[in-house]
Structure formats: structure tokens, C-alpha cells
């Protein structure tokens, strides 16, 4: 006990953790106000909002799963090379050789769980009427986050570079080729011409933009890898920050007026 107090009083400890131990109302408030992670929360909150049956912690679990995906994703990046020669072999290595290679499983099932939880979170927000004013813009941000979740999961699906992933992505991106006006198989694509030549060809349509090729090849693997590991996570974290900020600014967690 005396050791603990000495540690708490030491210059080192007090330089890192500014607030006193959370023992009474004042110090508990101080914890939430001074801690970087906890300051996302208000200091006090209605009793109904901490009931499990109201939120089922769905938004928090979605964000937690996103953090799990980030950590396991970084671990996977240490072993994975997004090239046609290496990608599949690195998968086999992760499965058979790497110690605690289980983080691939955590990453995959965590991704599935995240898609499910984000959809359920949307259902919860709808059923409690929390999308209604004044939170309407945050609902829009939430729909964007749902889309980002889908695209994150979709781009990650290609990376194992096995039959399942390659053909799933082929099926998924073939639909982009049917975009009206902008896909080479889409209606109205022949209407767009420049100087008498068709503007939308298999080499210049929206599907080509997505794949970097006319079919799923190594270029696609690289493109999806960059999207999956850099572009989409950055966007998702940015929108998450906005989402959390707006929860606070729109009056905290929803409750009856």
C-alpha cells in the first residue's frame, strides 16, 4: 500500500497521469475530463443511456472491432506481400508456419462481426428514433461509415488471392461494368463519344478504374491492398472522429425530449 502511494506521488507517475485516483465525485469527473480516450464521453450521462437494453453497446463494439482489425491488420501486413507470386504463399505460411498465425482468423471473423454489428447499430439507431432531428446529419455520416465498412470488407476479401476471393471480387466488380453511361456494358455507354470515337471502352470505364485492368489481376491486388490498408481506414477513422464529435455536439446520446 505504501509502495503504491509512493509510486502515485512520484514525479514520473504524476507527469504521465495528471488526475488523482478516481475516488469521489470530483476526482471521477477529473478522470473523464483529462484522459484522452475517456474525454470522448461526457462527465455524466442519463441512467437510461447506460442500460444494456437501450444501446446494446453496438456502436462501441463496432469501434472496438475496428481497432481489433487495425491491430491484427498491421500484424498481417508484416507477413503479407500483395503480389501474385507471394500473396497466396504468404497465406499458407501464415496458416502453417507463423507462430500465433491465428491473427488471420481474428482479422477475418472480426471483419464479419464488424459488418454485422455495424448493420445492427444502424437498426438500433433507427428503432430508437435517434436518426431524427437534431441528429439527422450524424445519421448520414453513419450511413457513409456503413458503406466504408462494406468496402473495407470487400477490398480485404481479395487479398488471400485464392479462388474464393478472386471470383467473389470478379462477380462484385462485374456489376461496376454495367454502370449506366460509365461502364462499358452499361446502357447508354455508346452515347458518350469524343471526336467520333467511343469514350467508354473496357479500357477506360469505371470497372477499369476499380481493377486497374480489364479483369482481376495483380494490378487489382495492389490497388485493393492500398485501398484496404491505407485509403479506406484513413477515411473510416476520419468519419468515426466526425461521428463521435457529432454525437456529443448533437446533445449526447439520444433520449426522450
Amino acid at each position: 500500500m505504501r509502495l503504491r502511494q509512493r509510486i502515485r506521488r512520484s514525479q514520473l507517475y504524476r507527469s504521465i497521469i495528471r488526475h488523482p485516483a478516481p475516488k469521489d465525485r470530483r476526482t471521477r469527473t477529473a478522470v473523464v475530463l483529462t484522459n484522452l480516450v475517456l474525454h470522448l464521453h461526457p462527465v455524466a450521462i442519463s441512467r437510461h443511456a447506460v442500460r444494456i437494453g437501450y444501446t446494446w453497446c453496438l456502436g462501441g463494439i463496432a469501434f472496438f472491432l475496428m481497432l481489433v482489425e487495425t491491430v491484427t491488420g498491421v500484424l498481417l501486413m508484416l507477413y503479407y506481400r500483395p503480389t501474385a507470386t507471394h500473396a497466396y504463399r504468404d497465406m499458407l505460411e501464415l496458416r502453417d508456419v507463423v507462430a500465433f498465425g491465428m491473427f488471420r482468423e481474428i482479422h477475418r471473423w472480426g471483419a464479419h462481426a464488424m459488418v454485422i454489428i455495424v448493420m445492427l447499430h444502424m437498426l438500433r439507431v433507427f428503432l430508437t428514433g435517434s436518426y431524427r432531428p437534431p441528429r439527422e446529419f450524424n445519421w448520414v455520416v453513419g450511413v457513409l461509415l456503413l458503406l466504408l465498412t462494406f468496402f473495407l470488407a470487400f477490398t480485404g476479401y481479395l487479398l488471400p488471392w485464392d479462388q474464393l476471393s478472386m471470383w467473389a471480387v470478379t462477380v462484385g466488380t462485374n456489376m461496376a461494368g454495367a454502370t449506366p453511361f460509365l461502364g462499358h456494358e452499361g446502357p447508354g455507354s455508346t452515347w458518350l463519344t469524343a471526336g467520333g470515337k467511343p469514350l467508354i471502352t473496357p479500357h477506360s470505364d469505371i470497372r477499369f478504374l476499380l481493377l486497374g485492368s480489364t479483369q482481376v489481376t495483380e494490378t487489382t491486388l495492389n490497388r485493393f491492398y492500398v485501398l484496404h490498408c491505407i485509403a479506406l481506414p484513413l477515411a473510416a477513422f476520419a468519419f468515426c472522429a466526425l461521428h463521435f464529435w457529432r454525437v456529443r455536439k448533437d446533445g449526447g446520446i439520444s433520449g426522450p425530449l
Binding site: 478516481p22 465525485r25 471521477r28 469527473t29 475517456l38 464521453h41 455524466a44 450521462i45 442519463s46 441512467r47 437510461h48 443511456a49 447506460v50 442500460r51 444494456i52 437494453g53 437501450y54 453497446c57 463494439i61 472496438f64 472491432l65 481489433v68 497466396y88 496458416r95 491465428m102 482468423e105 481474428i106 471473423w109 464479419h112 462481426a113 459488418v115 454485422i116 445492427l120 438500433r124 433507427f126 430508437t128 428514433g129 436518426y131 431524427r132 437534431p134 445519421w139 448520414v140 450511413v143 457513409l144 458503406l147 462494406f150 488471392w161 485464392d162 479462388q163 471470383w167 467473389a168 462477380v171 462484385g172 462485374n174 456489376m175 452499361g186 447508354g188 439520444s254 433520449g255 426522450p256
Partner: protein
């Protein structure tokens, strides 16, 4: 006998089934005791005795099944006749209608269904039906694929959550009907509690539970890895990732430009502008059904009746060549479903005895007049559906809504709702009347 309990024989039923029956027996026994205690305390409602009795009965049933398995090694299964009947009577239309019917019953009879009396049956009957079906090898191998487990989890979690939310909504609606605030708005619930410790510890607990479940899942099920990617060998069927299988399933009913691009874009747009369509404040922050019955029913139909259902059909009921297979039907026998385009225009011209010009007859692309004179039934129907129907409805059922939100919001909301409703209508049109195009213009690609 103890050996057999610890290491159940894998044949004919998966070993895990026995454990699930055991868990079911224990859970029901616990529920029976807990509800029994509550019944003894609540002397005013003697009929609640039926709740612990039902839980006890289910516990007994599970125990009897286990006991029978110990002596004979058999688990209850569906007889071959019943399985064949289920396989032969299911097709996309019947699956859709059954599921929409269940959803309708759940929403309309929500009060009796969420009551304490119904709870034992609501939880146990689907579980037992699923366990009985699992003794079939085809069904078991279908649902036990690693990626498919996530979908089962999604369906189970969504239904559980919907049931829980409806229970709270029914309770709140009763409060509101009596002139009281909803439970979330009662004085005690509006009091403030400190985030540290009341919220932070719940969050910590949630994180621990999620981590435990995720680790258990990852330890017991390895991530799938098939043969290396080979662009020369197309698997049959090639399926999209499960969260996009619903859109792939739409390809049966719509051309790719609609199924893959326009429908998801418009529905996402509709989802985004949802809060701007009915902008009156209030009714937010508590579970309720009666406050916004139409919006809630429409949203739930879109979420469970279309998005979830199409994923389930695409994943579990579609086999080689994207043909429809019953849940107990082996996938090894490839079926070929040949569907020639059967546009509405040819049905109508056949009906009234006029031969309209067939598409693709002439080598030169047809003029706009030719297309119009051929496709007028479908185009007229779409015009009536999207323009005249909202106009007609605002004189009757949607009059109050139109007055409240104004012209622009009214037509936007009606367009989005009718657009969503076009999906089930098109499914039924194709599956029951075998009409797969309302407007068929293959020359230009704009077929609907």
C-alpha cells in the same frame, strides 16, 4: 457411457448437436427456476405459472432427447418424406412469401408475441427446428461452412435484437397510450450518473466479452483458404462476398445496371435522406412502434424482408448455375434453369391478339417510335406506378403525411418507398407469372 458423453460419435449427427441439446436443457431449466420464483412472488397473476411450466417442459424435452441418444445413439431428425416435401415446395416465391408473412405476423401480433407467456416458445421452437434440421447431412454441411457461420450469426442476432427491441417498444407504447412518458423518459431514468464508473465498466465488460467470443470463434474455426487464384477456372457458382450476395441475387430479377448499380445507389441515397423526409422533431430517443408505425414497418421490411432475405437466399438456397436448391437437396446434381426473356409486351400482345414487332427482328436499331409502340404496356405501367399512384394515394391514405411534409418531401418519400417495393413486386412477377421484364429494350440496354 461417460466416454460416449465426452466423445459423441460423429455419425449420423454432428457431435456438437449433443452439446447444444445439453445447453438447451440447462438454459431452459435455469429459465424455469427464475420465472418460477417470479411467479411465486407475483400472486396477482396466477396464470404466469404457464411460463416456468413451458420452460420446464422444453428442458425435459431436451433431456429426454439426450437420454434417448445415450441408449440408442439416435437424435430426432426429419423423416425423408417431410424433407422431400420441404425441398419440393420451396422456391424463391414461397421462401419470400413465408418470410414476409412471418415478419407481418411478428409486427401485427407483436403484443402477444413479446408477452411472457409466448417467450419460451419463441426462443425454443426455432432452436429445436434448427437442431432437428441439422441431423440432415446436406443441411449440416451447408450451414457449417466457416464463412456461412457469420450469416447464421447475423440472422440470429438480428432476430434476437428485433425481438428485444419490439418488447421494449410494446412496453413503451402501452405507457404512452396511458398518458405516461416512455420508460426511457421516466424521472428516475433521466437522472444523471457519472460516466466513471457507471459507463466505463460496462464498456470494459463489453470489450472483454467481445474479445473472448472473437478468440473462441477464431480458435475453433480456421479461416477458409481455397486453391490459389486461377483466372482460367471459374468456380460454379461464383458467389460475391456474403454481404453483397443480396445484390447478386437481384441479378435474377433485374439487369445488372439496375441490380448492381442503380438499386443500391438509390436505396443508399434513400437511407441517407431518411431523417430529412419526415423532419418533425420528437419521437426520438426511445423504443417505440406505434409512434411511427409506417416508417418503422417500411424500414424493417427493407432491412429484414429484402436485404437479409436476399442474402440468405443467395447464400443458402443457390447452387451451381445459380439454380434454386431446397435446404436438404444435394448440390452435386447441377440443375439448369433456362429462362428465355419473357417481356410484358409480348404477354400483353398475345393477350389482345395483336402481334407487336419483336425485338431483334431487324438488323438496324429501331426508332424511338417503334420501341414506344412495342413497349407501351410496361412504360405505361411504370408511369402509373411512379406518378399516378402517389397522386391517387394523397387523396386517401397518405393525405395527412402529404399535408405535414409538403410536396417535395412527399414525392421523394413516395418514390423511394415505391422503388423499394418494386423489388418484391418484380420477384413475384417473375416467379409467379413468369414475366421477367416490364420494359424490354435489348437494342439499347435499358431493360427494366
Amino acid at each position: 457411457m461417460l466416454y460416449r458423453l465426452l466423445f459423441p460419435s460423429p455419425q449420423p449427427a454432428p457431435a456438437i448437436l449433443v452439446w447444444i441439446y445439453a445447453i438447451l436443457a440447462v438454459i431452459n431449466a435455469v429459465a424455469a427456476v427464475r420465472t418460477g420464483i417470479r411467479w411465486r412472488r407475483d400472486a396477482a397473476r396466477p396464470r404466469l405459472f404457464l411460463v416456468p411450466a413451458a420452460f420446464g417442459l422444453y428442458s425435459l424435452v431436451a433431456a429426454v432427447v439426450l437420454g434417448r441418444w445415450l441408449f440408442t445413439g439416435e437424435l430426432p431428425s426429419i423423416p425423408k418424406v417431410a424433407r422431400d416435401f420441404i425441398d419440393s415446395s420451396l422456391n424463391p416465391a414461397t421462401v419470400c412469401l413465408i418470410w414476409w408473412g412471418l415478419l407481418f405476423v411478428l409486427l401485427v401480433f407483436r403484443r402477444p408475441l413479446v408477452s411472457r407467456m409466448a417467450r419460451p416458445h419463441v426462443f425454443n421452437l426455432p432452436a429445436i427446428a434448427f437442431l432437428v434440421a441439422l441431423t440432415d447431412n446436406t443441411f449440416a454441411s451447408l450451414v457449417s461452412q466457416p464463412d456461412h457461420f457469420a450469416i447464421l450469426l447475423m440472422v440470429a442476432a438480428t432476430l434476437f435484437y428485433l425481438y428485444a427491441a419490439l418488447s421494449l417498444a410494446v412496453r413503451n407504447d402501452q405507457h404512452i397510450a396511458c398518458g405516461q412518458p416512455p420508460v426511457e423518459g421516466q424521472h428516475r431514468e433521466r437522472e444523471k450518473v457519472l460516466v466513471w464508473p457507471d459507463l466505463v465498466y460496462i464498456e470494459l465488460l463489453a470489450m472483454i466479452i467481445v474479445t473472448t467470443l472473437l478468440l473462441t470463434w477464431s480458435l475453433s474455426m480456421s479461416a477458409p483458404l481455397e486453391q490459389p487464384a486461377n483466372p482460367l477456372h471459374t468456380p460454379n457458382p461464383a458467389k460475391a462476398p456474403w454481404y453483397f450476395v443480396g445484390l447478386q441475387e437481384l441479378l435474377v430479377y433485374f439487369d445488372p445496371w439496375l441490380a448492381g448499380v442503380v438499386i443500391p445507389s438509390i436505396l443508399t441515397f434513400g437511407l441517407m435522406i431518411l431523417p430529412y423526409l419526415d423532419h418533425c422533431p420528437g419521437g426520438s430517443g426511445y423504443y417505440s412502434f406505434a409512434t411511427r408505425p409506417r416508417t418503422t414497418a417500411a424500414f424493417l421490411f427493407g432491412f429484414l424482408g429484402l436485404w437479409l432475405l436476399l442474402i440468405v437466399i443467395g447464400v443458402f438456397f443457390r447452387g451451381p448455375n445459380w439454380a434454386f436448391y431446397g435446404p436438404f437437396e444435394p448440390r452435386e446434381l447441377p440443375k439448369v434453369e433456362v429462362t428465355a426473356p419473357r417481356p410484358l409486351s409480348s404477354c400483353v400482345s398475345g393477350l389482345i391478339g395483336v402481334s407487336s414487332p419483336r425485338p431483334g427482328d431487324a438488323a438496324v436499331p429501331p426508332s424511338a417510335f417503334q420501341v414506344l409502340s412495342r413497349e407501351w404496356p410496361g412504360l405505361g405501367l411504370l408511369l402509373a406506378y411512379f406518378v399516378i399512384l402517389p397522386l391517387a394515394l394523397q387523396r386517401g391514405p397518405t393525405h395527412a403525411f402529404r399535408r405535414r411534409v409538403g410536396t417535395v418531401r412527399y414525392y421523394l418519400a413516395m418514390f423511394l418507398f415505391l422503388f423499394m417495393l418494386m423489388i418484391p413486386l418484380k420477384i413475384l412477377l417473375r416467379e409467379i407469372f413468369y414475366v421477367n421484364y416490364l420494359v424490354y429494350i435489348p437494342e439499347w440496354g435499358w431493360s427494366i
